[in-house]
Symmetry: C2
Subunit: 224 residues, 2 copies
């Protein structure tokens, strides 16, 4: 082993469809084999999950030989770790962009909920929680835990801030409501995939937004 699972890697960004794909100015036109391996793994984990993704499929998509993979990573799990970390970071950045936008707390949460998503493909991070091998590995689960923990905290922070500003009813529990908002998105994906239709996702979002709207103090500038 040599470069083995470069952990502190902050490198560039995600592949096709994955959040956080704005190119760093210094990003090379032709990504390295290591980089292509990570991106291929991100895509495949999203599409097929951990058990459903074989090293062979990764190599084929990345267009590299088997030797490259075992040179840069310990194997499937090491590569998955790098990919999951990368994906989780991308999701975080995408969510932060919505939640740090200007506007009332309601507007910002609504912005997050209504943000464009490839609903039928599901959440690349949430997807991993259904994979036994991922959840059972403390190392592989950590990025998921971190990401969703951060998300709930961030949404809760936005709601608490809105409450302090008098935009939201004092009775609202920011932390619990934040969990609800995050759950609606993840559960919306499940309902949509079961129906092979985005409508249930949209309905779930509409429902929680309507409920949240009833907690908005009249005349505090929200554009409901």
């Amino acid at each position: 082993m040599s470069t083995q699972d470069s952990l502190g890697e902050q490198a560039s960004h995600g592949p096709q469809g994955l959040p956080g794909t704005h190119h760093t100015p210094s990003a090379p036109a032709t990504p390295s084999a290591q980089e292509r391996l990570v991106r291929s793994t991100q895509e495949l984990l999203w599409e097929r999950g951990y058990v459903g993704t074989s090293p062979k499929a990764i190599l084929e998509r990345a267009g590299v030989g088997q030797g490259s993979m075992y040179h840069h990573f310990t194997g499937k799990s090491g590569l998955a770790l790098a990919a999951i970390r990368r994906t989780a970071e991308g999701m975080k950045a995408a969510a932060e962009e919505c939640l740090s936008a200007p506007g009332t707390a309601y507007d910002r949460v609504a912005g997050y909920l209504l943000r464009e998503r490839e609903v039928l493909r599901g959440c690349p991070v949430g997807r991993m929680t259904q994979d036994r091998d991922v959840v059972r590995s403390a190392e592989l689960r950590e990025p998921l835990d971190e990401m969703f923990g951060w998300l709930r905290g961030r949404i809760g922070g936005v709601l608490a801030e809105g409450q302090q500003r008098g935009e939201l009813a004092p009775g609202l529990d920011p932390s619990a409501t934040a969990a609800t908002v995050a759950a609606v998105v993840q559960g919306g994906y499940v309902l949509a995939r079961a129906a092979d239709d985005t409508a249930p996702f949209d309905a779930a979002v509409r429902g929680v937004l309507s409920l949240l709207a009833t907690q908005v103090t009249p005349g505090t500038g929200s554009t409901r």
Copy 2:
């Protein structure tokens, strides 16, 4: 092929932990090989998903030989179809028990949300929506679609009924709110599994119930 995937099977009920495990009086003490195969598959699909479940593992858990499986079923997919149908029926029955309980609309929905669940194991039906091979097969996806469609409709019906009785605010959208409630449960599982902790699930449920409570007309008998 002979008995091949007995479709109209209404047979008995699910295995360990799976909803709908109340024994039919006429259920035999020693289940048939076919029955044991279905139950083993239900368990394994829940634990490992479709891709993660091998025929070998099913056979070992059921304690039967390979011949039995290919005699009664077309193969892995046929067996999975029987198992998924069985599991979906069980979930439906379990939900109906809560939703048809006496009380106000709020109470019944709360009863559904607060019903005892093995949160960290996730939803055996929702789990399937993350499996590529399941969702891509019209036949395998159908029971999921049916189950979640029914659930949203049933919850929506309870809410609409409560609204007509004057228990709930006229502004509430029963259909959208029903999707939200169902999504919160499914998403709650995701958050809990990411954290390896049931707390996020409970918080999400608490959050949506608090929001729903604000829609209850005072003095209509709800035990919030």
